[in-house]
């Protein structure tokens, strides 16, 4: 005969009381676990929503950044090509060149040695990126009976100290001719047409679109051929320096630098209105970057707003749970205590005789507390199971449950462990007073009553 056997027999005998006690503990534990499962699922949903939003924002930003980068690259390319005509270009001319000739006719008459280009390219000049030696002269295209501006160009001369750059202007190969819009329209020229220009055969390699400038009445051929046609061997009219870093006040610096290298020359800035356009393009790029930045900030703000909204929702649910769960636990404790009192009252005579035959008060108390521990564990197990199931059901009803979510996360595991410890403790605490009272009752009183 053992206390355990006594307890088990008593539980079987008064199973309704025991089952009601189990129910009380199970409801309390179930509500705690279900609340935790719901909270946990809510946290998982929050994390899933925020992760999804984060990914969306990042994808959007990546796409935007790519768009901006592509647009920027395209803009840079456009700029690079446009600069040739409109950019921060300078012309290096013989000092004696009358600029009014250039501005009025678009042609030049004074020359300088072609070697100037090489000389300039071999220096450590840093303000110039591309050098283009040219001859430019208004001539009669006798064979077609029209006046044209002839440009001879040999392509860009590489600057020795600088890293190799993509040329802004493609050279015209020998025997080829590039024709301006007005000329090819008037003469009905097409690419690959063969023409004779001042007694020399050329093949049309390219037709320029309308530019609204002297380019429309110009033809471009190889520099050496142009020099021969014009009798200007080893001479050039000008050096076109492209993509100069000569915007603003730096034109003064570049003039001084070039004059020192190439004495007897003058430097003029062409198409300075390009500066405004370039700045406008720069501003457009900046605006795009600012828009991108704003979009990034808006994405972050939306993410923060969603996070705050979810946090508020979770907080309200946690507040509700922080009230309901203790009330549930307290109610269960009171319920278990009342049932323990009822059990103790029913067992007065039995406890009296056990005390009479020699059981100590501590043994009687152990009988009741062992029963309470069994109530705690016995109620916690189904309570945990029901809590998990109910929590899952409610979570699935009320929220979009992420696929990767887990039913039991670390928070839920902690609550399960907590419940397994707290349920027996709570049950023992609830049964302590009735156990103490019944253990200390006077057995003589019970026997006398009978």
């Amino acid at each position: 005969m053992t206390i355990w056997r006594l307890v088990m027999h008593e539980i079987r005998h008064r199973r309704l009381n025991f089952l009601l006690s189990l129910l009380g503990v199970a409801v309390a534990v179930g509500s705690v676990v279900a609340a935790e499962v719901l909270m946990s699922r809510e946290r998982q949903v929050t994390n899933a929503i925020l992760s999804r939003k984060q990914i969306e924002v990042e994808q959007t930003m990546t796409a935007r950044q790519k768009d901006v980068a592509e647009a920027g690259a395209a803009l840079q390319d456009v700029m690079r090509k446009t600069m040739r005509e409109l950019g921060f270009n300078i012309l290096i001319l013989p000092e004696a060149q009358d600029l009014s000739e250039l501005h009025l006719n678009g042609t030049l008459s004074e020359t300088m040695p072609e070697s100037y280009v090489s000389k300039l390219a071999s220096t450590s000049i840093v303000t110039v990126n591309h050098l283009l030696p040219t001859v430019t002269q208004k001539v009669r295209w006798n064979e077609r009976e029209i006046d044209v501006i002839l440009h001879g160009t040999r392509g860009e001369v590489p600057i020795l100290h600088a890293s190799e750059k993509k040329p802004l202007l493609e050279a015209v190969p020998a025997g080829k001719m590039v024709v301006g819009c007005e000329i090819h329209r008037r003469l009905s020229l097409k690419v690959d047409d063969r023409v004779t220009f001042r007694g020399r055969e050329f093949t049309i390699s390219r037709l320029h679109p309308e530019r609204g400038s002297t380019d429309d009445v110009s033809v471009w051929i190889d520099l050496a051929e142009a020099q021969e046609l014009l009798g200007l061997q080893n001479l050039i009219h000008a050096i076109l320096a492209l993509e100069c870093e000569c915007a603003g006040d730096r034109i003064t610096q570049i003039r001084a630098e070039i004059r020192e290298i190439l004495p007897g020359t003058q430097v003029i800035e062409r198409y300075s209105q390009a500066l405004t356009r370039a700045e406008a393009r720069g501003r457009a790029k900046l605006a795009a970057e600012e828009a991108l930045d704003k979009e990034r900030q808006a994405g972050a703000a939306a993410l923060e707003s969603e996070s705050a909204s979810r946090a508020a929702l979770e907080s309200s649910h946690e507040q509700l749970a922080s009230v309901l769960v203790p009330v549930g636990i307290l109610s269960a404790a009171v319920w278990v205590g009342l049932l323990a009192f009822s059990n103790a009252r029913q067992r007065c005579a039995e406890i009296g005789i056990l005390r009479a035959i020699g059981l100590r008060a501590s043994q009687i108390q152990r009988v009741f507390l062992t029963r309470a521990v069994l109530v705690g564990f016995g109620g916690a197990a189904p309570g945990i199971l029901c809590g998990l199931i109910l929590g899952q059901i409610f979570a699935e009803r009320s929220e979009l449950v992420p696929e990767a979510s887990r039913l039991i996360d670390s928070g839920t595991l902690n609550i399960i462990a907590f419940s397994l410890v707290m349920a027996p403790v709570l049950s023992v605490v609830a049964a302590w007073l009735p156990a103490a009272l019944v253990a200390r009752q006077d057995p003589a009183l019970v026997l006398q009553l009978d």
């Binding site: 206390i3 020699g358 059981l359 100590r360 006398q448 009978d450």
Partner: protein
């Protein structure tokens, strides 16, 4: 002397007055003696039994049982003393309703565990003709069987003294005779029996009759 009471008194205070249940009672009981305390209801005989059994502290006087003064012991020591020295038999049997016959007989072993408790219990059940009922709960037994279970329980720890309060009150003549014979057998084997009854015929079968009236031995 197994039991010695010297000038023992016990009162019960009520709202209006004090009931003097036992007044300056002195008596002795030797081992092997079967004594019956008889008297009308309310004369204090059950109170006297509880005092001797170490269950009810007297207001005054000295109680000595088996060489010990139980009321000088701590509650736990007194409980252990009861378990080892005294067996109780009551009119209402006071069996634990959810324990079977064998477990009821074994219940005192919770207080004084001993290795041969099961053998002793089975031997007692055989002695009282209850072996075939060992797995039955009290509700399935007759009154006579229940009182025999109570007798077996009282004898499990081999006590020196049996205190019996109206043990035959709920029994028919045959079962009453059986219980009485068992008590006599216990006394003849060297134990002492203090039987409380209001039945003079029953008391007459004891070795010694102690008559009480208004809390006093007369």
């Amino acid at each position: 002397m197994l039991v010695e009471l010297d000038q023992v008194s016990r009162t019960y205070p009520t709202q209006r007055s004090v009931v003097r249940a036992v007044q300056e009672v002195s008596l002795t009981l030797d081992a092997g003696q079967f004594a019956a305390v008889c008297g009308p209801s309310g004369c204090g005989k059950s109170t006297l039994l509880l005092i001797v059994g170490g269950l009810l502290r007297p207001d005054s006087g000295i109680v000595n049982v088996a060489g010990q003064q139980p009321y000088h012991l701590s509650p736990d020591a007194r409980a252990a003393f009861r378990a080892s020295q005294i067996g109780f038999v009551f009119q209402q049997f006071h069996l634990v309703p959810y324990l079977n016959v064998l477990d009821n007989v074994l219940a005192p072993a919770l207080a004084v565990p001993h290795s041969d408790a099961l053998d002793r219990a089975q031997q007692l059940l055989q002695q009282f003709g209850l072996s075939h009922r060992s797995r039955h709960v009290p509700a399935a037994l007759s009154s006579g069987e229940r009182q025999r279970v109570a007798m077996a329980r009282a004898l499990l720890n081999r006590p020196q003294l049996i205190l019996a309060d109206e043990p035959t009150g709920n029994l028919d003549r045959a079962n009453a005779a059986g219980v009485l014979n068992s008590l006599k057998d216990f006394a003849e084997s060297g134990g002492a029996v203090l039987l409380v009854t209001h039945d003079d015929d029953l008391a007459d079968r004891a070795d010694r009759v102690i008559r009480m009236l208004d809390g006093k031995i007369v």
